[in-house]
Subunit: 196 residues, 2 copies
């Protein structure tokens, strides 16, 4: 289905978005990186918005798959959340894709084409819903404690993760800084039952 070139265009676009955002990458960048004609990119993705929508759609799917797989193998809510938070710590440490493209695009939101903006919003909704599910389950099982309801806890966690990414980026890709900011956000939910 998805041809090799098609996938490589998506890959390149994604890595360009990770560290330049929507407005600072061009068809020429992808063309040069892959050694293909610009027209080839237009053949697979008629417009820039189509390309970026496809990137985020794939990203959303990967996120859903990843979180779903983790939920299947890890029943403990605290570990699930730690898995999500730790995933990004590893990304920053490896410096491969050290930023959530949806968070970056969210910052640029007012300047994005409508279709792209919708995808970004959808990612936030999905991610929040997934984490809300984890937290809700954890609270009901007594594995987690929180003074807020599950959804609010999830939003706080996501915000902290995104803010910590920003801080780490400013600090030159400092994974320790990311961890030191996010760790207390996890502890907040697992406190007093940490030694389970």
């Amino acid at each position: 289905m998805a041809s090799d070139t098609y996938t490589r265009i998506l890959d390149t676009a994604q890595s360009l978005i990770v560290n330049r955002g929507y407005n600072a990458f061009s068809y020429a960048d992808i063309s040069a990186a892959l050694g293909i004609g610009k027209a080839t990119i237009h053949h697979h993705f008629p417009g820039k918005a189509d390309l970026v929508v496809a990137v985020i759609a794939r990203y959303r799917q990967a996120t859903e798959d990843g979180l779903g797989a983790m939920a299947a193998r890890e029943p403990r809510a605290g570990r699930r959340l730690a898995g999500y938070v730790g995933f990004w710590e590893q990304c920053i440490r490896d410096n491969n894709a050290p930023f959530c493209i949806a968070a970056l695009l969210a910052a640029e939101l007012p300047s994005l084409p409508a279709e792209v903006a919708e995808q970004v919003k959808a990612h936030f909704d999905e991610l929040t819903a997934r984490l809300t599910g984890f937290i809700d389950e954890g609270l009901r099982k007594g594995e987690l404690t929180s003074t807020e309801d599950a959804e609010r806890s999830a939003r706080i966690l996501v915000a902290t993760v995104h803010g910590a990414m920003l801080a780490a980026r400013v600090a030159g890709g400092d994974a320790e800084l990311y961890a030191s900011i996010t760790a207390p956000a996890l502890q907040r939910l697992t406190r007093e039952i940490a030694s389970t």
Copy 2:
């Protein structure tokens, strides 16, 4: 000193950056908004990087002045932090400048000119230092409680605020959402002595 045109260019550039970032605004935008020639902008700011550096420098100064003034009039640490957090809630509610330009530029950091990147980093350092001072003083006076040291607490607060801005922007400028995410971050520091 600072002529009227000079200031208006800065104002316009700042508001363009707030909702488009560095790469998605142009001299032509400012030129059109103010009804002046593009060459006039170049007269005051030789290059785009110079312009944006000037915007952030002024922004940093305003932040320092604002936080300094608040510290002078409000001795209670908890209120100082609430003032910082509440400032952005009001900005989002009024929809005038509903995003911290330094946070937005931080996301775009890898694609920014070096001089601009430096200014962004400097803002983060200054802001963290200021809040660290507030928290440190609050802890020593017994007005605040924290399981982490003051600097780490400050970084967590900043990250939460930035993450909450992102969430609010995605939600279409939802100030309530911003508040619901940031409020617990403040409570974390003021808990058990809230009724002072």
